[in-house]
Structure formats: C-alpha cells, structure tokens
C-alpha cells in the first residue's frame, strides 16, 4: 500500500501553521485559487506522482518537499500561464512545480535563522519511487486541496541541527514512498 511515512518526527503546530501560511499565500497570489486543508484527518491521497524539493543550507539546514497530483499541477500551470489545461505540456508541469517549491522554499527560508542559501529545485515524476532524505526529521506535513486536487507539503530539517534530544542512528532518514507496488495486491 503506498504511504507517506516520516521515520523521525519533530512535527509541531507552529511549523504546520507557518507552512500553511506560505502555501496559502503562494496559491492566492500566483495561482489565483484558494487551497484548503481538510477539516478532519483523512487518508493520504494516492497517487501523487509529481514531487519536487528545494534544500536550505547554512545556519539552518533542511528543505521543503512537495508531492502533488498531476491534476493540481496542471490546473496551477494553466492559471499561471493563462492557457487551457489541455495545452499544458509535460515541461510546463515540471517547471510550474519547480517554481512552486522554489517559492515555498523562499518563504520558509525567510522564517528560519540565517544566513542560509536556497538550492535550485529538483522535480521527480513517476509512480514507483522511494525518496529518502538521510539524517532528516519532519517538522510539518500538511495536506491541501485545490479545487479537490490534492497536494502534500512537507518541511524537514537536518538531524545535525539538533545538538541533543534526537539520537541519530546511522541509518536514520526521512522516507517518502510513492509506490505502486502492492496496489493490486
């Protein structure tokens, strides 16, 4: 069964609120559509075949990982590029998601201690991957819907930023799974 699993967590309502604010601001201004958080706990929607990440390095080390349905990214691209959804190409999908995670990363970067640097975004598109971020903990993971189309946004931080309180085992990592394995089982 596909899942989204944080092996190590330091999740808090404060980080979740920061994350929600940054995501909602981005969609309100650049996409022109509201994003909503489900009012109650529900299973993580699957599949979310588009994923993108940026990393923040410096005094604070971590990053933002976005996973989204193709429908959500297609709609966002359509709105941002002012073209019909059927005219949005694969390159547009990847580029739009890259820009979304880049802006989210910039928003988070402005909230954490500096100086820090923001990496260029990376995009992954597929149905059968395990994404591992070694030596990292999850600070927040939020599920959003934009006109019924799902997206998760995760904020993570390097274990090395925590001088105490979290024991870093050699294999500790934040693992995000997007796997079709077992779907038909």
């Amino acid at each position: 069964m596909p899942c989204d699993l944080a092996c190590l967590s330091r999740e808090s309502p404060t980080w979740a609120a920061y994350l929600a604010e940054v995501v909602q601001s981005l969609f309100a201004t650049m996409v022109g559509l509201p994003v909503e958080r489900p009012p109650f706990c529900r299973p993580m929607p699957q599949p979310l075949p588009l994923a993108a990440a940026v990393h923040i390095t410096g005094v604070w080390n971590g990053g933002v990982l976005v996973r989204a349905s193709e429908g959500l990214v297609r709609r966002a691209a359509s709105r941002m590029l002012h073209c019909p959804e059927e005219e949005v190409g694969l390159g547009d999908l990847h580029d739009t998601l890259a820009e979304i995670v880049n802006i989210l990363g910039g928003g988070i970067k402005s909230l954490v201690p500096g100086p820090t640097r923001l990496s260029l975004p990376t995009v992954l598109h597929g149905r059968d991957y395990d994404w591992q971020i070694p030596q990292a903990v999850s600070l927040a993971c939020q599920l959003f819907y934009c006109q019924g189309r799902p997206m998760t946004v995760r904020l993570f931080q390097a274990l090395a930023d925590f001088p105490s309180g979290l024991e870093a085992s050699p294999g500790a990592c934040l693992t995000v799974l997007e796997s079709e394995k077992g779907k038909n089982a």
């Binding site: 547009d92 910039g106 970067k109 260029l120």
Partner: protein, 121 residues
C-alpha cells in the same frame, strides 16, 4: 518602445513576467534561462530595463547585477526573487540593484513595479 532583458531559469516565471511586459507595451523582450546567458546578452545601451531572478544555474542574479554594473551604471535592474531577508536585499542593493520584488506577487504588483521603469509605448 522599451527593450527588456529577462533572466529567470523558470519558464513559467518568464511567461508570467513576459505577459505583464507585453501588456505594458514592451516592444522587445530578450529572455535568458540562466545567469551566463543573461550576461552574454547584455550590452550597454541595448536595454531599458533588466529583470533578473536570484537563484539560477550558472551565474546567480547577484553576479549578473555585478557584471552589468561593471559596464553600465544607469540601466535599471529589478530583482524578482524568493529571497526575502533584509540581508539579501541589502546584498542586492550593494551590488547595484535598482528595485526588488519578492515572490510570490500578484500580477498587479508586478505591473506596478515594472511600469515605473518603462518608457511609454
């Protein structure tokens, strides 16, 4: 009639900005998808405005600004970036940026920012 050099590695962002520039009557928009291309395209007197992202492959936006300012002290340069911290804005000012716009932005805000640097069509 205005000529603009637009440097951003995001094709989506270049499209958004290009549409606003076209709506403002800009006659020539030269696009660069990285900092090296931007520096290679720039010539003193060729453009009325330079727009640049900060984080790009090749030369960063700050390096683009420094390269432009090394040969041209007057062409306005607007940085359009996710980098929102005061220290980064100061770094850009020290490099010679004319104005600064933080992403995310509304189209109205973008047009307002660009309009003051563009000649009437």
């Amino acid at each position: 009639m205005s000529r603009v050099l637009l440097a951003d590695d995001s094709g989506t962002m270049r499209t958004i900005i290009r549409r606003s520039l076209e709506a403002l009557g800009v006659s020539e928009i030269v696009e660069a998808s990285d900092g090296n291309q931007a520096v290679a395209q720039f010539q003193p007197g060729r453009f009325d405005l330079v727009l640049t992202d900060w984080n790009m492959p090749g030369k960063t936006g700050i390096e683009v600004i420094r390269a432009v300012r090394a040969v041209d002290r007057t062409t306005p340069i607007v940085m359009i970036t996710t980098e929102a911290e005061k220290s980064r804005v100061l770094e850009a000012i020290q490099a010679g940026v004319t104005d600064y716009l933080v992403k995310p932005f509304t189209t109205d805000k973008l047009k307002e920012k660009l309009d003051k640097f563009l000649c009437p069509a």
